[in-house]
């Protein structure tokens, strides 16, 4: 039963990504050219509501369903892994024009070439797993 909830959340997310054009290569390119407020508006408005909501959750100590703790653990402090990893991610995001969520959405939309991008992303993840011990974190 719980899996149906996650499936439904995924459907919502997929429709939002596609309908807002956040899954479009053109919108990503336009964002990095500062050609439109659209993508900044999407991320920015999600963030404003996200920050307010999480502050309310923390201050009122609201629990998740089944009285579980909310998954709001602080991330480990570091600079190199986030900065270098982030830059590598950004290079790929702008080159392929997609990030991991939209990759799935576009596969469903029938763009079969995106399967090659997903293959590349799986390979990149795998190679990271192999090199992990040798990289600065």
């Amino acid at each position: 039963m719980k899996y149906i909830t996650y499936l439904a959340v995924g459907v919502l997310f997929g429709i939002v990504m596609y309908k807002s054009e956040a899954a479009s290569w053109f919108r990503i390119y336009e964002m990095f050219q500062f050609g439109s407020f659209h993508m900044y508006g999407i991320i920015g408005s999600a963030l404003v509501l996200g920050v307010i909501g999480i502050q309310v959750i923390k201050r009122k100590n609201i629990k998740a369903f089944d009285k579980q703790e909310m998954q709001l653990k602080p991330k480990k402090k570091s600079v190199p892994r986030y900065l270098i990893g982030g830059i590598i991610f950004g290079l790929g995001w702008a080159l392929a024009g997609v990030c991991p969520g939209p990759m799935c959405v576009l596969a469903g939309a029938g763009f079969y070439s995106i399967l090659v991008v997903i293959g590349g992303a799986l390979l990149g993840t795998f190679v990271y797993g192999l090199l992990r011990g040798k990289l600065p974190h």
């Binding site: 939002v16 991320i43 996200g50 990893g85 995001w93 969520g101 959405v105 992303a121 799986l122």
Partner: protein, 186 residues
């Protein structure tokens, strides 16, 4: 009925993305898409090659359901709710056409110059798609998250590491589009 095909403005999409994150938080989970790539590597047997992939991937099945849902959402939206044309800033569209010969802005959802299936026989295009994907996969795991995990979940929780990662995303993206595109596509 034309309104159903219109793209959603940012002020509809952004709040719905926040809603996605909050539903997952209330279910005791954290919104993040790229960790599914690690899970898929584990399912494929990558644990034999690196300890990074030795974990109980069955605990991540919920997130794979989100992935399946996103695939279905993409199918529904593209087939029944969209004319699959993305209009962008005309100046950017003109620049794309002039500098890189990408003429399809306003007529397609993804540029067929890069994403039409026939183009896969072009080694240059194939290389771009594989390399782009590789950098996304490698970078997301190195940084411990992608746009959903850092830019939405992490920043919403006021995490400094996520801010550093997002600054990295933009440094990488701007370097690619402004410095490397002219070399790659020019």
């Amino acid at each position: 009925m034309d309104w159903i095909y219109e793209p959603w403005p940012w002020y509809v999409a952004g709040p719905l993305i926040a809603l996605t994150m909050f539903i997952l938080l209330f279910a005791g989970k954290q919104f993040g898409m790229s960790s599914n790539l690690r899970t898929m590597c584990s399912i494929g047997g990558a644990g034999k090659a690196a300890d990074f992939f030795k974990f109980d991937w069955k605990k991540e099945r919920w997130n794979l359901m989100v992935v399946v849902g996103a695939v279905i959402g993409g199918f529904l939206a593209s087939h029944y709710m969209s004319n699959n044309r993305v209009k962008i800033n005309p100046k950017v569209a003109q620049q794309l056409s002039q500098d890189y010969g990408i003429d399809s802005a306003g007529e397609a959802y993804l540029p067929p110059e890069l994403f039409a299936s026939e183009q896969l026989s072009d080694p240059f295009v194939l290389g771009i798609l594989i390399l782009g994907g590789f950098l996304v996969g490698f970078g997301a795991r190195y940084a411990g998250g992608c746009t959903s995990g850092h830019a939405i979940s992490g920043l919403s929780n006021l995490q400094l590491p996520s801010l550093i990662a997002v600054i990295g995303f933009f440094i990488g993206g701007l370097v690619m589009v402004h410095l490397l595109y002219p070399l790659i596509f020019g």
